[in-house]
Subunit: 292 residues, 4 copies
């Protein structure tokens, strides 16, 4: 009927407006064609050569952190991750060392020349944390903690934003928009696996999210191979896939003694495993003619 | 092999410890056999007779809120919901009236004799909010905002905790444990649908979560029929299913003019629809010999 | 731009055609307003009073089947389910008694006055099976086994079609259309849970699928509480929810000795559990003023 | 308690048996360490150098098929896919040319020197199909059509088995076991995306399934980049990721005129797009030092 057709035309008009609205996102490629490059401690994330972010799941002690930092630094890498505020399913699990952990990170980072990435879980921690960290990580559980996104957007520090466990790519992009809308465009996106029915892996690495995010936004995109798989044996193949598909880098967890780690003991690499992993990645990238 | 068997025995021992640990949760039925009853404005949530929580998605104005409150109050109900701080996917969507919205809620609640439930999204808002609301709602996106859970646990106000979009029942129970571990046992759980592949509904109402939560914990359990379905035509059948399966009550959104609502316009009931919904529920409960 | 608007208008027109196409489905309410009633052995499925289909997961022996049939028959019920061809994940699991099982079902059904429902897994089995069964069940794994759907559509036997493990409601409706398009309109739909990330239940019962299927189609809709939950303790509450939300009946598995069952031993009811389940359901339906 | 500990030890023993059972699968690496190599028309699938399987979604005519075959053959490739029996959601969608389609495939294959892969959807079609095709494809919807798996296992033709839309990796491996248990070990596994909540892609490519399947079984593993993504713009990046992670090859759909294709028009490559795709893959593989 004619009425029906008019109704649909009206709906299309609404849809068009919605599409136009989408175009206007500040993180969108339509707003800015060139890749955003985020510089941290001399590392230029998003400039072509892959970035690697290694480190322990949680900062447990100076010694533990320093051992990992030393291994990272020996490879000529410039960034380290480590959790001080740990979001844990149970209130009775190890919750991280908090500010003490940030202090260790800063001290170790300074000693080994590494920029440090650490997760912040609530706006109230942000101010004090800014003195100790080089990158504010916003974790999967907090991807839609909008007050935290806005607070991070009001700082001048780079933000590493992880995709939520069940976030659509559209929601992920909008979460980044919360940060940039407050003035901070130093944002790195990180695909870290989504929750599906499959139980062979901790999460399901949504590898095709990488080229979609690169198309839709101008932001660098990393892949966290540890949390997406939850399996040490899958870190290397997934890291290769990430680089091959066009990710700007890879994150993975390293611990001097995974068996006694206070969190994520099943999935962290030991230092010899880390050496082997990185050698293999270098060989892969050399073949693939990527310089690091 | 013998070695293998010993390994497995060791694993079992670990598993046993884990199970024992689970038993120790303060929200667990194993810790407390009797149902927890949460009393708000004279309404006893969890005492057998179903509780209904209606109200607009967002507080938009005094008039809009008052119209809904009047309709609720005419039915002899004692609680109203209304969002002041709205977590929205896009930073450019209506974000709620904030403190102004809470003030409206309080004023309207006082006039119509209703206890008010409103979502708090970050610990920093909590202090000022406590003067205005009767129940702290923690929304799906913040179910694992652990700092917020802890902050709510340190108050003496009842907390309505919604299940996360992709939270397992086990994670949901542990989120409640974060609250109770800080001393606040006035917790109401709310199933509000989970994210699945099905697109006919906004989310998939996980109805069997209700009897599981009732078995595993001593807390009252509500079902939010609005967010789980996202469809006005499913509110009534899902509310009946919720009561039949043993939920302690139902939440649903009501707006004086859904077509112009600033959020969730597709799924809120108008006041005549609300009247019809409630009449049908009363008939259902009367048949089913439940008093309200 | 104008070009863009025309493009969208064209898209709308396509969408309209698609919607019109949808209207034309033979299973649709739009094609036939009145409820389809499927009569089996005197039981009128879809006529208002709930239908119950109980029976063992698999027919294992005459004795086992007869014990269950006796219990069903004592309750005045008229239908029994039992698997003869069992689709099993592993080729080394018990695969059912095949034709032998169908013969047992028929003999037991005749003795106790029960119509029998049994799953057929491939068109080649259909001809011989028609002599033994009253309802052709098409299982979840075969919901899109289109040759089987078409073959069942060419018979005159009622078909009980289960929703696929990850089928959308739209795909489910289209699977029923395959049957009806071949001339057989004696179709009963069965929601049996969908695959999600949640592990507390074997599948997630998508309870809101029931009112959607009742709205969209004119076919009767059952709920299989056994396969949707995989937990004996959830059978009763889920059966209540199914009836309350408007399902035309409930399916559940009963075995004389679940602990030694050759399949699904965790989720079948023993006969005393079955008696208790049915008593409680009768009480529930009496309250709810449903006659059986 | 001691009783509890014994119960758990007993459970462990059961679990051990289960694990041992798993070891015994004929498709398992534990049964056979060396990679299975499947030879089709001179192409050795699984021998290190990637295999490519291109072709139209559906065989629509001799001309359409021949145009694609010519393009494939020009690249020196040896295999072509094409659907003759099409499993479609709606009974009113194009269902394929059936036997006529197989005849076209054979004729075209012979002319251009290509081995042909085509989906068989029911055991009854198998006998006649064997004269026309070189590889029996079993599609996602039929991954647990066990009678079809058994029938394919009784032939001597290679079988390309696709993962079900919501199949776990464990179920996928067991489906392959159905085939091998009947004597046919010429099996190629194909990851083709799983159903998740994400809507940006048709399915979610579970890339980490590739290394898991390579570890757990001795069978070659392909990745279908067309069905996993449903987006032409993601074919190339996903194909690179597939090769990088260790897949034995890639499948993708090519049609002379995708806009008028009778199925999958949104996702097939045109012939110039196919040329570009293959050039880029060759460049990628050359860098990566893979010969083709």
């Amino acid at each position: 009927t004619v009425e029906h057709i008019f109704k649909e035309i009206f709906k299309s008009a609404l849809k068009l407006q919605e599409t136009d609205h989408k175009k206007e996102l500040l993180v969108s490629r339509k707003q800015k064609k060139e890749d955003t490059i985020v510089t941290i401690n001399g590392e230029t994330v998003g400039q072509g050569s892959p970035t690697f972010v290694f480190g322990p799941c949680a900062v447990e002690s100076y010694e533990q952190t320093a051992l990992v930092a030393e291994a990272i630094s020996h490879k000529g890498l410039k960034l380290m991750r480590g959790g001080a505020y740990k979001p844990r399913t149970s209130p009775y699990d190890f919750q991280g060392l908090g500010l003490e952990g940030l202090k260790i990170l800063k001290e170790v980072g300074a000693k080994y020349g590494l920029g440090v990435v650490s997760e912040i879980v609530t706006p109230a921690h942000l101010d004090e944390a800014l003195d100790y960290i080089d990158v504010i990580q916003i974790g999967a559980r907090n991807m839609q903690n909008f007050e935290l996104l806005k607070a991070a957007g009001e700082t001048k520090k780079p933000v590493l934003l992880k995709r939520g466990l069940a976030a659509t790519i559209d929601e992920f992009i909008n979460a980044a928009e919360y940060i940039i809308s407050k003035g901070n465009d130093q944002i790195i996106l990180c695909e870290r696996g989504i929750r599906t029915y499959e139980k062979a892996t901790r999460n399901t690495l949504d590898i095709s999210a990488v080229p979609i995010l690169k198309q839709e936004t101008h932001l660098p995109v990393l892949v966290d191979v540890t949390h997406s798989t939850g399996r040490r044996d899958l870190l290397l193949p997934c890291a290769k896939a990430a680089i091959a598909i066009g990710a700007d880098g890879v994150m993975a967890e390293v611990h001097p003694d995974p068996a006694v780690a206070l969190s994520d003991s099943q999935q962290q690499m030991s230092i010899p495993q880390f050496d082997e992993f990185y050698n293999q990645m270098q060989q892969f990238m050399k073949n693939y003619q990527i310089e690091k």
